[in-house]
C-alpha cells in the first residue's frame, strides 16, 4: 500500500500557504501605509466630517444645555415658563463670561431661523439689570420676547442632531412643532441650483462628447507622428493654470473682448449691440466645455487605439456600408471609452467651482458656488456640508447607474 503520510491534509496546506503569504502581505501593507494615511486624512475623514456636520450642530446646546432641555419639553404652543426664561438669560450671560464669542455665535444661529434676533439677544447680554422675574424683564427689554417666534426659532436650533440643514438643502424647513414644510418660492433656490448644475453638467458632457469623439477618432487613426502631435495639443491646456485658461475666456468673450471686436470690425454686428457672452450661462458652458474636453478625449482615444483596425474592414467586406460599419461595429467598441469620458466630465462638471465663479455671473452660478458662499460668507458650514453631502450622494448614484448600464470593469481611462 502507498502511504498517504507525505500528502499533507488540506488544513496544514492552507496554513503553510498562509505563512508563506504573510511576509508578502506585510511587505505590501508597509508599502501602501503612507498613501493609506494620506487618503484617510485627506479624503475619508473630510467626507465623514462633511456628512456629520450636515446633521450635527451643537452651537446652541453646548452653550445653553439646560435651556435646550427645557425647550425640548416645551410644546411650542403654551406661553413659555419663567423657568425657561431664567435658564436662557443666566446660561447666556454665563457663557459670555467664559468666552465672549460664544453668545454671538449662538445668536447668529438663532438669527438664521428668525431674522432680527441677533440684536435682541445682544440687548439681553448688555442689559444691566437682569434678575428674577426674568420673563418680565425680557419683555420689558423688548416686547418681541412676549411673542412665540424667537422662542420657536430657539426650539428649532436647540437640538444637536437635526435634519434641518439637509431639509434646507432641499428647500424645506422644519417648524417648532416638528412638521416639515416646503420653503416659500422666494427662498427656494437650492433645488433650482441643483437642477441647473445637473443641466449644465449634462450639456457640457454632451458638448464634450460631440466635440471630442471626432478628434479622438482622428488621433487614434492617424500616423504615430501626427497622433503624438495632436495628443500634445490636447494636453496643452493642462500645462496652463486653470485660472489663466478661464481668464482667457474673459478676454475673448467680454463685450469689448476679442470676439465682439472682430464681429464689429467685419460688420456682422453693430457697435451698439455687442453680444453679451460673458458673465452668464453661455460663458459657463463654453469655458467648462473647453476645460473639461481633454477628460473626454483621453479615454476615448485610448479605447479607440485598442480597437482592432480590421473590424471595420471586416464589416465592409461583409457588405456593410461605411455608415453601418461605423455605427454597428466601430461605435459599440468605443462605448467603454465614451462612458468613462462622460462619467468623468459629468462628475467634474457637477462639482465645478472656479470657472462658473469667474465667468458665470449671476445666472451661471452652480451649486458649488453656493457651497463656497455658505462656507465663506454666511459661515453656515452645516448647510454647506449638507449640500455637499447631497452632491456626493448624487454623484455616487450616477456612478452606480453607470456601473449598471456599462459596467465599471469595462471602463478605460487614458
Amino acid at each position: 500500500m502507498l502511504s498517504m503520510t507525505n500528502i499533507p491534509d488540506q488544513k496544514s496546506l492552507s496554513r503553510q500557504l498562509a505563512v508563506a503569504e504573510r511576509r508578502n502581505k506585510i511587505k505590501a501593507f508597509v508599502l501602501v501605509v503612507p498613501l493609506l494615511l494620506f487618503v484617510l486624512a485627506s479624503f475619508v475623514l473630510p467626507i465623514a466630517s462633511l456628512v456629520w456636520l450636515g446633521g450635527y450642530n451643537d452651537t446652541f446646546s453646548k452653550a445653553l444645555p439646560e435651556t435646550t432641555r427645557l425647550l425640548q419639553q416645551w410644546d411650542a404652543k403654551s406661553p413659555i415658563s419663567e423657568e425657561l426664561a431664567a435658564s436662557f438669560v443666566t446660561e447666556l450671560r454665563a457663557a459670555k463670561l467664559k468666552d465672549a464669542a460664544v453668545p454671538t455665535r449662538v445668536a447668529t444661529v438663532i438669527n438664521r431661523e428668525q431674522a432680527g434676533s441677533l440684536s435682541k439677544i445682544k440687548q439681553v447680554l448688555t442689559a444691566s439689570d437682569m434678575a428674577s422675574p426674568f420673563k418680565e424683564h425680557l419683555i420689558a427689554l423688548n416686547d418681541e420676547w412676549a411673542k412665540p417666534d424667537i422662542w420657536h426659532a430657539m426650539k428649532i436650533v436647540a437640538p444637536s442632531f437635526t435634519p434641518r440643514f439637509y431639509l434646507q438643502a432641499l428647500d424645506h424647513r422644519i417648524t417648532a412643532d416638528g412638521t416639515i414644510v416646503s420653503e416659500t418660492d422666494d427662498n427656494a433656490i437650492q433645488i433650482l441650483l441643483f437642477s441647473r448644475t445637473l443641466m449644465v453638467a449634462a450639456i457640457v458632457t454632451l458638448l464634450c462628447a460631440i466635440l471630442g469623439f471626432p478628434i479622438a477618432y482622428i488621433m487614434a487613426h492617424a500616423e504615430t507622428k501626427t497622433s503624438n502631435m495632436m495628443l500634445i495639443v490636447v494636453l496643452l491646456p493642462f500645462w496652463t493654470s486653470l485660472l489663466v485658461r478661464t481668464t482667457a475666456w474673459i478676454a475673448l468673450l467680454q463685450q469689448n473682448g476679442v470676439i465682439n471686436d472682430l464681429l464689429v470690425r467685419i460688420g456682422l454686428i453693430d457697435n451698439d449691440h455687442r453680444l453679451v457672452m460673458m458673465y452668464n450661462m453661455f460663458a459657463t458652458l463654453v469655458a467648462m466645455t473647453h476645460v473639461l474636453l481633454p477628460f473626454m478625449i483621453l479615454p476615448l482615444f485610448s479605447v479607440m487605439k485598442s480597437i482592432k483596425g480590421n473590424l471595420t474592414r471586416a464589416a465592409l467586406s461583409l457588405g456593410a456600408t461605411p455608415w453601418t460599419a461605423f455605427w454597428k461595429v466601430y461605435f459599440p467598441q468605443t462605448i467603454p471609452g465614451l462612458g468613462a469620458g462622460c462619467l468623468l466630465v459629468f462628475i467634474l462638471a457637477v462639482g465645478y467651482y472656479i470657472t462658473p465663479a469667474l465667468v458665470g455671473g449671476q445666472s451661471g452660478q452652480l451649486i458649488s458656488n453656493i457651497i463656497a458662499f455658505h462656507m465663506q460668507k454666511t459661515l453656515n458650514w452645516s448647510l454647506a456640508s449638507a449640500i455637499g453631502t447631497l452632491l456626493l450622494i448624487g454623484v455616487l448614484l450616477l456612478y452606480w447607474l453607470y456601473n449598471r448600464l456599462v459596467g465599471i470593469d469595462k471602463m478605460k481611462l487614458a
Binding site: N310, L311, R313
Partner: protein
C-alpha cells in the same frame, strides 16, 4: 487564362511614392480555383489581396472581377467574402449575430437569415454555440465562425489572409483539410495568402510565389516543387542543395557546369548562360547513394548522420560544399552509414537544374 475570373493587369502599388511594393503584377485566376499567394514577409501578398478586396487602391493597372473592372468599386459593393488573420469577429455580438451580419446588412428576412446562419454553422461544424460571444471561443472555433460568416452570403470569391497563422500546428493542419474540402464542395473561387509553404502545397490548385513585389513563379504545387524556375523558388519551396559553378557549355539540352574549379557536372539549363555563374540545385531526396546507374555522379564524404525515424538525413561534403544533404528512406535492409565514410552519389539529369544566382 486571359478570360480569368479575377484578373490583375499590370498592377502596381506604392505606399510612400518612392518604392513599389507590388511591381507590375499580372495574374489571372480561374473560376473555382484555389490560388495561394505564397512568399516571405513583406513580399506584397497582403497588399495584393487588399487591392482585390478594395481596402487599398492600386496606383497603377487594372483589376477585373468576372469581367468587370473593380478598381473604383468600394469594398462593401464588391461582394467578396474575406477571412482575416485575427478573425476580426465582432466582439460585442454573439456568434449568431456575427454570422447573420452580412445577411442583415443585405436586408435578408429574419427567417431566411436564421436558416442560412444555421446551415453555415453546420457547414463549419459549429452549431450549438450561437449565443456565445467570440471571446468565449478557442482560436480554432473563432476561425470557423469567421469562415462561416464569410461564406454565409454566398460570395463569388473568398479571400483569406493567413487565416490559420494564429493556430497551433496540429489544428492548423486539420483546418487546412477542412478548408480544402469546403472549397471542393462549394466550388467557390479562393484566393489564399500564407507564408507557410506546406500549407500552400497542401491546399492549392496553383501557387503564386511572391518575392519583392513580383510573382516569381506561378504553377501547380507539384510543378513548383519539381521544376522551380529560379533559385528563389528552389530555395523557398522545400529543401534544395546548392552547388555554385560556372556554365561552360550548353548543348543538347544540357548545361555543363564547372564546380569547384575542376569537376564538371551536367544539369538542365533553366536559367543558364555560357560563361556566367550559376547555382545547380538538387533535392535531397532525389540523391542516391552508391547508385546503380545515374546520369550525374559525384563523390562525397559523410559528415553527420541524423536519424529521423521515417528517413535518415545525411550531411555530406560534395564538390567543396559542406552543406550537401541527402535523405535516405529508412527501409528494412538498407545500407548503414558511418561518419567520415567516402561514398559515391548520383542523381538523374532532370532533377538537377542550373538556375540563376
Amino acid at each position: 487564362m486571359s478570360d480569368g475570373f479575377v484578373r490583375f493587369e499590370n498592377i502596381q502599388k506604392t505606399y510612400d511614392g518612392k518604392s513599389l511594393v507590388v511591381k507590375s503584377l499580372n495574374l489571372s485566376i480561374g473560376r473555382g480555383e484555389f490560388l495561394t499567394m505564397l512568399g516571405p514577409s513583406g513580399s506584397g501578398k497582403t497588399t495584393t489581396l487588399m487591392m482585390l478586396a478594395g481596402f487599398e487602391s492600386a496606383t497603377g493597372g487594372e483589376i477585373y472581377l468576372d469581367g468587370i473592372k473593380i478598381n473604383n468599386i468600394p469594398p462593401h459593393k464588391r461582394g467578396l467574402g474575406m477571412v482575416f488573420q485575427n478573425y476580426a469577429l465582432f466582439p460585442h455580438m454573439t456568434i449568431a449575430e456575427n454570422v447573420a451580419f452580412p445577411l442583415k446588412v443585405r436586408g435578408v428576412s429574419k427567417a431566411d437569415a436564421e436558416d442560412k446562419v444555421r446551415k453555415a454553422l453546420d457547414m463549419v461544424q459549429m452549431s450549438g454555440l450561437q449565443s456565445r460571444k467570440p471571446a468565449q471561443l478557442s482560436g480554432g472555433q473563432q476561425q470557423r465562425i469567421a469562415l462561416a460568416r464569410a461564406l454565409v452570403f454566398e460570395p463569388k470569391l473568398l479571400l483569406m489572409d493567413e487565416p490559420l497563422g494564429a493556430l497551433d500546428k496540429q489544428l492548423r493542419e486539420h483546418m487546412q483539410y477542412e478548408i480544402k474540402h469546403l472549397h471542393d464542395r462549394l466550388g467557390i473561387t479562393v484566393v489564399y495568402v500564407t507564408h507557410d509553404q506546406s500549407e500552400a502545397l497542401t491546399m492549392s490548385d496553383r501557387i503564386a510565389v511572391f518575392d519583392d513585389g513580383r510573382i516569381q513563379q506561378l504553377a501547380t504545387p507539384d510543378e513548383l516543387y519539381e521544376k522551380p524556375e529560379n533559385s528563389f523558388v528552389a530555395q523557398f519551396i522545400g529543401e534544395n542543395n546548392k552547388l555554385r559553378g560556372v556554365v561552360k557549355e550548353i548543348s543538347n539540352g544540357r548545361a555543363r557546369v564547372e564546380i569547384g574549379g575542376n569537376t564538371i557536372i551536367d544539369a538542365l539549363p533553366i536559367q543558364a548562360e555560357i560563361g556566367k555563374p550559376t547555382i545547380v540545385s538538387v533535392r535531397p531526396e532525389r540523391v542516391e547513394i552508391e547508385p546503380s546507374a545515374s546520369e550525374v555522379t559525384a563523390s562525397g564524404r559523410i559528415e553527420e548522420i541524423i536519424y529521423l525515424g521515417d528517413h535518415i538525413r545525411i550531411r555530406m561534403t560534395v564538390l567543396g560544399s559542406s552543406n550537401f544533404v541527402v535523405k535516405v528512406r529508412n527501409r528494412s535492409g538498407r545500407r548503414t552509414f558511418t561518419a567520415g565514410e567516402e561514398v559515391r552519389i548520383g542523381w538523374a539529369l532532370q532533377d538537377c537544374r542550373a538556375l540563376d544566382v
